[in-house]
């Protein structure tokens, strides 16, 4: 990875961290809720009356109530975990290939690999 790209990534990471941490300080003490309840509030505000959803989420039907907070965060973690797992695996794979290409033997293997792919795409 070139020096310029490294700097771009470091800059972006710092930007992301600032954007996430800043609200915590700026708005210290607020709830940071993003709950679905406030969604129904917004609709009720527009309608001027309580809105009752006509369909209950399947998981809630199944559990007979709202999903407990801990379980919900577990499920969200699973979602993140699946995504990060796939991303990290393939970036690792690409990185290793890139490193191998720096050696002579690795370069030959890499060329073979590319050739194999091109052949398989032709057929």
């Amino acid at each position: 990875m070139s020096r310029k790209n490294k700097l771009i990534i470091i800059g972006c990471v710092i930007g992301v961290i600032i954007l996430i941490v800043f609200p915590l300080i700026y708005k210290a003490g607020s709830e940071f809720s993003g709950s679905d309840d406030s969604g129904s509030e917004a609709v009720s505000q527009v309608l001027d009356r309580e809105y009752i959803p006509w369909f209950v989420p399947i998981m809630e039907q199944f559990l007979g109530g709202e999903i407990p907070g801990e379980l919900e965060s577990l499920l969200f973690c699973i979602q993140t975990g699946i995504g990060v797992g796939i991303l990290a695996f393939f970036i690792g794979l690409y990185y290793e290939r890139y490193q191998l290409a720096a050696t002579k033997r690795g370069r030959e293997r890499y060329k073979e690999y590319i050739r194999d792919y091109e052949d398989s795409e032709k057929t």
Binding site: V56, P57, F76, Q79, I86
Partner: protein, 248 residues
Amino acid sequence: MNKKQKTNLKFLIFLLVLLAFNHPVYAMHIMEGFLPLGYCIFWGVLCLPFLYFGFIKIKKIINHERRSLILLAMSGAFIFVISSLKIPSVTGSCSHMTGTGLGTILFGVPVTSILALIVLIFQALLLAHGGITTLGANDFSMGIAGPILTLCLYRLGQKLKVNNKVNIFIACALGDLFTYCITSIQLALAYPAENGGFLASVFTFLGVFAPTQIPLAIVEGLLSVILIVTLESYAKPELESIHFDFQR
């Protein structure tokens, strides 16, 4: 002051109050059972052509372009990660991003609509977040409308010869923001305000979530750039195989 002006004034005051109190914000997908059945079907049908072409394209990738299959998996995984992270915002509430920009730039809108659909189904079934009945509306906003804007901006940036990374950042960030604009339009269509009708309703929903979403859109743009830079460095042959333009 005529009636219309009064309405406008009331509405403006309402908006200001909303902004001033930083009401805990709803800024996610439309919840289960929150759209009338007619609208659910309407948005669902609107998605179908995109899903159909996306399905064909993905089938082609699986059968003939194995090398870009990994990139496809990574775009999907990126949406998975990004849309599962609830991030605090300046309004004192949390929201999450869409992550669809990357898939759009690499594979186009139809494929992204399928990837977004997978994530939405996962969230609707397991997390009670979004919903099965509102799947069509959510897929339209997150998987089709946002990506269309992303792609338009990206192509425009290429025409104007903007720096590639800056271009991707802008396209992804605004695409994310646009997704939530469409969400509020969808809600407003279903629930026009009694006082002021459709437009007033749009602005109410926009006023409720837009301030929350702006910083998050920037975060999404930055994260997309990080992944693109990484891919440019380590996955050149793959990007070349899908004709990704990384010269500038």
